[in-house]
């Protein structure tokens, strides 16, 4: 499965929900499918997308929040998984696309390439629902189940280490940030 295929498959379910992504390929690919004012792309601060998702989920308990994370990013904030698990917001679904590499900076392998198990780490941190998937159908099913579960879920989706040809898009960072805040407050 590629990340783009996975994003395309669940895009209809992202359309009306609050979405926070990490930088790089995830942000560029989601924008290539279609940007929406309810999508925020954290184009730096690796590791903090899940923390931003937690801040939004706690502040907007009546809205579902989806965080689209990556192996390189979450490895920079593994402690944040324990914080997510501690508050376990029922309205947060945490997807980690695991391509076992730092794709945008040369494809060097991350620790998941040598066996670190992010779904296992999330479960051991106390995240109440976790799933590890490696096919498009399994991902689609796990995502739908997580949306319906009403319980904090981390889904680790193994994806191929392929990305878009370019990472910079024509959406400026601040335009995205103010549009997203206006959406959340409306």
């Amino acid at each position: 499965m590629t990340r783009l295929e996975a994003l395309t498959r669940v895009y209809p379910q992202l359309e009306q929900r609050i979405v926070v992504t990490i930088m790089g390929a995830v942000a560029a690919e989601l924008q290539s499918i279609g940007h929406r004012p309810n999508f925020f792309y954290l184009q730096h601060a690796m590791g903090l997308a899940s923390s931003i998702g937690l801040g939004i989920a706690l502040s907007k308990p009546d809205r579902q929040v989806i965080v689209l994370d990556g192996d390189g990013s979450i490895l920079m904030n593994l402690g944040g998984l324990t914080t997510l698990a501690r508050y376990r917001p029922k309205n947060l679904v945490h997807v980690v696309f695991d391509n076992e590499s730092l794709l945008s900076v040369g494809g060097f392998p991350t620790a998941t390439a040598t066996g670190s198990d992010l779904a296992g780490i999330a479960a051991a941190a106390g995240v109440p629902r976790t799933a590890a998937v490696s096919t498009l159908d399994a991902f689609t099913r796990a995502f739908a189940e997580a949306l319906a579960a009403g319980e904090l879920t981390t889904i680790v989706a193994k994806v191929e280490a392929v990305g878009p040809s370019a990472y910079v898009t024509d959406l400026s960072l601040l335009e995205n940030r103010f549009q997203f805040a206006r959406y959340l407050r409306s």
Binding site: L48, S51, G53, G55, L58, T83, A181
Partner: protein
Amino acid sequence: MSPVSQTNSRIIYDALKASGVRLMSALPETWLVHLIRMAEEDPEVTLVRLAKEEEGVGISAGAHLAGVKSAMLMQNHGFLASINGIVSCAQLYHIPLLMLVSYRGEFGERDPWQTAGGGVTEDLLRALRIPFAYLDRADHVAPRIAKAQTLSLSANKPVALLLCRDLMWEEA
């Protein structure tokens, strides 16, 4: 009894509440114990206990985007640990942060391990162009917290208040 001032902690806490703060992130440190307990016991405030202070930048950013006012309670070493998040999330995206930083390692510090961080805190705040003020007397607390938050929100940027020994610690 801890020599951390309960009276002045209450003044700080009430000023944060009066400024509309409804979410606080914290990582415990000695000077913050009363503030954290007050947040814990306050049904109007969501307290988020962190594993590392940089997470608090993301949590406050999320709260701000969603329209909730927040504050971060940390030691100056927690500020040091948060710098990448402050720069590459809050400053890059013009997000206000109200950081209350316990200023360990200044005059009077007895713990040798706090002294290195104390010596670089202000230089780092200046290097990052983060406006800051001292909270060193009880009568400063409420107006400085209110004004710090006003600037943070109007400028959309992080600001810091340094919680000083003279305010936080009652032992002579």
